[in-house]
Point group: D2
Chain length 294, copies 4
């Protein structure tokens, strides 16, 4: 793709991006992939001390109301106590999805929109995560760790388009338009066991892989690292190049910090993928609990 | 059910509750309800000024990082700017699900667990929302407003078991074990148009309805109000009686603040229902974006 | 003052504003006003449910750690338990002071600085509250309510320069350069007794009063309302005119939501005034606990 | 002091603690220490990335409203724009004071109060920081670093009562009842230059010093470390022993993370000390901006 990356192929007003590739027939086909009734939870648990890049700030939460105290409230009826929790967090907390307003190329985000023109007190007036439709499509797992014969790829290991194609061949799989493509690197094994390592240099896809995935019509790209893309990048075109190519130029949302170990262990490579972002008006992402159903 | 409401029918260690009723075959059948490929988003938008009961505290969020400022960060590469959002909120924000630790009968929550014994700094050590499996089952819409021939039920209007049965008959529907039952009252029309009214007295199901729903094997009960149950209650057994019967005694999670207008408008009464709570360790609920798929 | 309100009289780089008027000899004189050793606490208590204008968002706080749970921490020694509190709040919470970056005339704040040029992720790079020196000076109470013979001034009651001068005459007082001027309206009696009223239309000084106070060399102007200035303004020059004249044009910081009842009851009109804002880098204000010492 | 540490010497209902030692004549004398009109700001700046022990959670803050956006608000008058900041923080943030409810000996805090009996959703119903009177008294600086001839004491360096007495002798000073005693270790030089070191093992007073300070009638004890007391403790009586002796048994509040370098540089050893905690109802401490005035 040349520098003429906007307007998008879905028009200059589009806010849906590559999720436009998920047709009603795609949804129906995806639903019919369910044959065992088994659900895989692909989200990490949100708990005290989870990895948080400084850009987003710490994930903090606390017990707010407690039954024992609530029961003593004035006017309390029927012996009913309640509890709840307060949260202080970024929209990019834990397993999360990036919205189309999240990453810019210079001053412009997806569809060439100038970020400052849509920026407000409560996120952006366009391209916020509330514009992301519920995601319900075919998912495929590209198990690069398995393909390499290792439990975890090395920090900074770069996954190319050729390696992704090789994973497909090995798995006798085909990437189809509108798919959610999940890349297994094994990196989630560092989650909460070595958070400093988890947030450090990571294996991930390089720009060739991003270009190929966009060309094939991937609707979503996710991985079990904090960045999806390799970091640090050896590619001369630099950091965030994959985010910029997928998210900014092609409207392909990224999903980060996935938990893919169970799926990999069961050698599940094709499934119904469902991901339901919170409808945070103007938000640049959302914590999620995506699932694979077989 | 007598006062011998614990241990639960799924054993004294159970934390899954009525979601145990969703079998693998139920999941498969639910998936195969998808025939049109149409997705209904049942979540309200999370935005500045949404209704928040004082018990939970205000929903607040703000732009944190902005592209224009991020681009000026030291060491910035590749002209990539980013933005994000910070959130301050309760786990019961907007459209949300209640976890089995949320409401007590005296000192005890679901399965007779003594709340103070599991209460910690970060929610509870048992029955937290992270123990709630992803919900993927058959959903049915009981349209009480339609049945009454009104767009919105009156504040304090009490929906009995008989009225729910009548809705089923009218719709030629059957409630099956493991279903998610969504009750349409029309109340969501007050959301963000009259928030004071929205948070005031509400129509909702009464204790007879709750008892009948539990007896039929409902796995989930949701509504388009902040309380699901009628408030104020005319039932002598008092406030929160429905919460206590469904959630505390029977392990049936409640979903509140649903957006059901589109579903009601299209007269959709049976669908695949998917709801994927955030895995907040020890949490008493989660904001969600549930969907109906037809 | 004409529209040539910048640069400030203390130079184009000044960030201290009218606090420049507090000389070392003024500090010494103020200290020597202390003859009884009596301290008046002029701050409202920060508690659940205090008035918060929507512009600032709710004041929320919660118990975070508790002794009983902390005592069970792994590795706990010496039977020492601890507790603490988490806060979610605006820098303009409760009794607070406004910093010189808080209010603009169009795009410019104090000293003609263009707000967007200093605006960052963490407040502003100039004129933040951390640049406000500790305030230690002579304070005087102008008791307008007493002067009118009422406990509380009416909503929207406008206090002119003439009325302020009359209060001085009645009290046999003189306003001196570098003074902190506190205006008693009685409005604090609505704090936590009628919060809706408290946040509604308020009595306060008008533009003539602001002009006169600036001309006399007031270093600080405070009141027992949320706005110091009358609201709604009957002055044709409109809302926030007092803020703009004092804060933006003259570098005179405003203190809002003071508790002045005890001072007024004791007819204390001259005192050592101390106010010590939190050093929040880039902040536009700070919650404070100012005192009067006699 | 034996284990009979409660009720307090000021009665079983006392919530003021050692601040009872500051009489009106003490206040007058302290005010009259002011002879130069010079104010020392003893607070660290609150900014992104300041040291935060995990027990308290991160200090986070962000620009919320901005003038440029506010000017576009509907109904905006008079070209007045405003900005503000939102804060997420513990009450023990930056330079702060500990309240009498903060640290327990087993289940009991100051005056033998059982912590759980006063613990609520919003801190405690007794001994909260709102009960701490404004602090206005004589302050003295004990410069242990100077006494040792080093810029910074070593991590884990233990300051005994003998060493404190030696500092007094060297400075030709006397500790008087009701004084605020500030201990200079030089440790603040690590603040924001090496935060990991700052939060690690620290120099500080040991139990002998705490006992002596309490016996002499100190009203406040502060230092330029996060803990005041030496950590790790070599004393067999273990961690937090100094907190327990001063705060819990004797009602002497601790001030942590002071900035004392300027005071030490100028060899100022006696001054008016003013500290004005926020009146956070039930809070266990408060961020503060204490000052020394000479």
């Amino acid at each position: 793709m040349s520098e003429n990356w906007y307007p998008s192929k879905w028009g200059s007003e589009d806010e849906v991006g590559a999720l436009n590739l998920i047709s009603t027939s795609k949804i129906i086909e995806a639903a019919h992939l369910v044959s065992k009734g088994k659900i895989y939870n692909l989200a990490q648990i949100l708990e005290d001390g989870i990895p948080s890049p400084p850009f987003h700030g710490q994930f903090l939460y606390f017990t707010f109301r407690r039954h024992a105290l609530d029961l003593k409230s004035p006017g309390k009826q029927n012996n009913a106590g309640g509890m709840n929790i307060r949260l202080e967090m970024a929209d990019h907390t834990g397993t999360h999805i990036d919205s189309l307003n999240h990453v810019s190329i210079g001053e412009r985000v997806y569809n060439g929109v100038v970020a400052e023109e849509i920026m407000g007190t409560f996120g952006t007036t366009k391209l916020g995560i509330e514009k992301t439709p519920p995601i319900f499509t075919r998912g495929i797992l590209l198990d690069v760790a398995l393909n390499k014969g290792v439990p975890i790829l090395e920090p900074g290991y770069s996954v190319s388009s050729e390696e992704l194609k090789d994973c497909l061949r090995t798995g006798n799989l085909k990437l189809e338009e509108g798919d959610a493509v999940l890349v297994h690197t094994g990196w989630a094994r560092h989650w909460m066991t070595d958070n400093e390592k988890f947030l450090g240099p990571v294996p991930g896809i390089d720009l060739s892989a991003a270009e190929w995935l966009a060309d094939q019509g991937a609707a979503i790209v996710g991985a079990d690292t904090w960045n999806v893309e390799v970091d640090p990048s050896v590619d001369l075109r630099g950091a965030d190049a994959v985010h910029q190519h997928l998210l900014t130029k092609n409207g392909i949302r990224l999903i980060e910090n996935l938990s893919l170990e169970e799926l990999a262990r069961d050698r599940v490579s094709e499934f119904l993928f469902v991901c339901l972002p919170l409808r945070l008006k103007g938000g640049s992402g959302s914590p999620i609990t995506p699932i694979a159903v077989t």
